[in-house]
Symmetry: C2
Subunit: 322 residues, 2 copies
């Protein structure tokens, strides 16, 4: 049986091996992923994002329980910011949300944040596709922080949930800009903590001030640890997913997501080539030496690097001259 | 007078125009940047990062005041997470830290987070170099969030300061992993808030548990808004910068940073080519259509995209066959 077939039949070990290949940028992943692609497109992908400590994992844990009640299979891609310095493997394979660890209807995969540019988003999108091919109806992509990572989550998710904790001081102000832009649902978690009313009021006001035509996410409060408000969050997510079925919006989003993945995967190729060239292409290596002697500059050096990478650099023998 | 010369002589308008070109990916920036490169290498770069609301801007404001006291010229690159959806220009040019707005020895530039992959880091590094060429002795790069952005900051900074606020609940736990990895200095800001002792104790413990040979950042407390502890933070930053002068560590770091910039700049080329190909290269466009009909898969499509981009795609007439 092919690896792809094993994975489709729910072989967790084969899936874990494939995901490790994806994480490591191991080329053996590609043909398997290519075979699996035809079986994707069923899962709905939910991005969950927010700063550290706001309770994203608890919220996801609660959503999983509700989806399992409804008989759904669930996948989670947890993106952890780990190290480019110590290898990053320490947290890479940890399994969180232990409550569901023995449940064959829940598959959780942590991804390391590799230093590799463009690689993380490609990995997250790819792992989401594997979970899709494994028959997961709902796939959660969890990320931490506010920044480029969030933008990348949005590209892979049908619906994005932004989780915030009740604010102290200027925190809500600081959150607003990013929050307004990427949230489909805004969850104020830890609604038993002080400051929740003010936070909800401020976020609601911010949503009301959104420009005409912009999305206006619902602002929901929740205490994920005891389940308060969880059903409302899940219901809003499902409502948004259903809405997307109308007017071909879901198909359009799926197409855009697939194209974003193609771009990420091609970028991974570029980066592998560029890093190899910087190590071992004599033309590039010499250019970098001249750069450090200030005989050239980073912009001309980048031009040389790009030309060498696109030509396949060092000793591939091609007589290209374009 | 060339634009580069104007900028070297401290023409803020010429510098602002160049930075706008950098932000917009406008090709007119390249020759100017190339000319400026020979005059870089003097500035020491300090990354300041942390979640929204921890008081990064106040801390930077305080550091600027101390550096100005010492007669230094200061540049700030503030990286804002803004929108890939509404254009992102709203916050892109805003000037914060108004206190220093009229001071000709302080130059502050906000950068928008463009959707463009790899572009943000290249922009931040490039703007830092412009500030360097303008004679700034200290350049701060401020970013928000915990994730890939932080990794990118580290690549452009000599010293990285991670700012945290006193923790509530599980927040410190959540911070630890990322913090341990990228901080050279750990600042617990808002030291007049509750929880500061516990946060300092937990972070110190986490630092003590770092593996042999790992960096062990000092854990300092500070109330940036009233200046308490600020001098100690500044002194620690300066101490680390001085230490790097020994044993060629500074030169090595500068070389690595310059090479990272070269890679980022070449990646920008790749992305511009890929995006153009996805829009207008008939081979790529047809491949994407086949992809959406599931007649091919993202991995084969990425291969086609990569091959077309490296060959210069659509109608450049080059007879390359590699």
């Amino acid at each position: 049986m092919s690896t792809a077939e094993q994975i489709r039949r729910g072989d967790f070990r084969a899936a874990a091996r494939l995901m490790r290949w994806v994480d490591d940028g191991d080329g053996r992943a590609w043909p398997v992923l290519a075979d699996l692609y035809a079986f994707t497109g069923q899962a709905r992908v939910v991005g969950v994002t927010g700063s550290p400590g706001v309770g994203k994992s608890s919220l996801i844990d609660g959503l999983i329980a509700l989806w399992r009640e409804a008989g759904r299979r669930v996948g989670v891609v947890a993106v952890d910011p780990t190290s480019p310095f110590t290898g990053g493997a320490i947290l890479g394979d940890r399994v969180r949300m232990q409550r569901h660890a023995g449940d064959a209807g829940v598959f959780i995969r942590s991804l390391a944040t590799r230093g590799q540019l463009g690689g993380l988003s490609a990995s997250a999108g790819t792992v989401a596709q594997v979970l899709d091919a494994m028959g997961c109806d709902r796939v959660v992509i969890e990320t931490v922080g506010v920044g480029q990572d969030e933008v990348d989550v949005v590209r892979h998710a049908d619906v994005t949930v932004v989780v915030v904790a009740p604010a102290q001081g200027d925190e809500v102000q600081a959150h607003k800009a990013g929050v307004l832009e990427i949230a489909d649902v805004l969850v104020v978690n830890k609604s038993d903590h002080p400051g929740v009313e003010r936070t909800v009021a401020e976020l609601t006001l911010a949503m009301d001030m959104a420009p005409e035509g912009a999305r206006r996410p619902a602002v929901l409060r929740c205490t994920a640890t005891d389940g308060t408000g969880l059903r409302e969050v899940a219901a809003e997510v499902e409502r948004l997913l259903r809405d997307q079925e109308d007017g071909g919006r879901r198909d359009k989003a799926l197409r855009e997501r697939t194209e974003a993945l193609v771009l990420d995967l091609a970028a991974t190729r570029f980066h592998a080539g560029a890093e190899a060239a910087m190590r071992s292409d004599p033309v590039v290596v010499e250019t970098l030496q001249r750069l450090h002697r200030r005989e050239t500059d980073p912009f001309r050096a980048a031009q040389v690097l790009w030309e060498r990478v696109r030509r396949g650099h060092a000793g591939d023998g091609s007589p290209e001259t374009a």
